[in-house]
Point group: C2
Amino acid sequence: MSFSPLFERLVEAFRTLPGVGPKSAQRMALHLLERDRAGGERIVGALGEALARIGYCQRCRNLTEHDLCALCEDPRRDERMLCVVESPADLLAIEEAGGYRGRYFVLHGHLSPLDGIGPEELGLERLEAEVAGHDYEEVVLATNPTVEGEASAHYISEQLRPYEVRCTRLAYGVPLGGELEYVDVGTLSRAFSGRLPFTS
Amino acid sequence: MSFSPLFERLVEAFRTLPGVGPKSAQRMALHLLERDRAGGERIVGALGEALARIGYCQRCRNLTEHDLCALCEDPRRDERMLCVVESPADLLAIEEAGGYRGRYFVLHGHLSPLDGIGPEELGLERLEAEVAGHDYEEVVLATNPTVEGEASAHYISEQLRPYEVRCTRLAYGVPLGGELEYVDVGTLSRAFSGRLPFTS
Ligand SMILES: [Zn+2]
Ligand SMILES: [Zn+2]
């Protein structure tokens, strides 16, 4: 049972959002139609414009509606460091963590030959040109600590070998505030072999 | 930090959805832009059309994009019963519970003089015309069991007094599967005074 085909279509459309089940989708549709039509119009406007205009930054492949993204336009970023991430979400997470002030390069995925995702899809030619054309001292390969992420980092480090640049990887270890008991064995073993001198 | 004004605007727009905080809004925006642009276009299309075309059913004030809603168009509904609800969400909940096969009338709120919501805003003239023009035997006043819902039900029962129709109210009592210990005192006292003969 539903009110109408149009209402049903709206509920179905909301279900494509991550973490939104049939109940939440219905609640969203009713909320906008009953209590916040102006909010609904704002979603239509902002989403329509974002889909039409947001693409990849020509330098770093971050999301942007301009040729260059806000980070690439920012002259205060450290030109000596480049951080390679799999997704804009990872970039945002690193920015939120704070501390890093260098530049980024966004792969939008990882190497996955079976899915047809190779160096071209990840923009690795652009990445190599970026490194060749600037005086980076270090490239942080901040791909995910997964098999595919590791493979992609390995591939990129080989690709950048001809350039005078140090490739690094994020430190592995037990997460801050985590209890050892609940840390998976792979992480624990990595943390063990990477143990550091104790300083108090 | 954000990618761009347009991305920021999209995240803000998603935050108007019920139960969506800043983190989920960002996740939604990134999901649609990175992984499901077609899904994003479906939301733009369905929401835009819904906002432009979905209004109130001319008979029962349910949401519909036509003159009459699917329920009013359905000849199999029982013409002898009318159920008055505060919102389309309540209507959907009753339909989902099953069992009721009569017609509905949607108030889109409850009497709230301080907020300027009176009989006119709730379409009570239309409701009276509906009852006057049909052979209803019973009107179920299924407004919420709140002070405002009770007051609205009382007002409507007075308004319908000139007509040969029985006004009823949903049964009060302890919710099925609930533990008495956790039932609020008002509900418990109502359930006590409304106690029924035990049948095994
Ligand atoms: Zn950029
Ligand atoms: Zn109707």
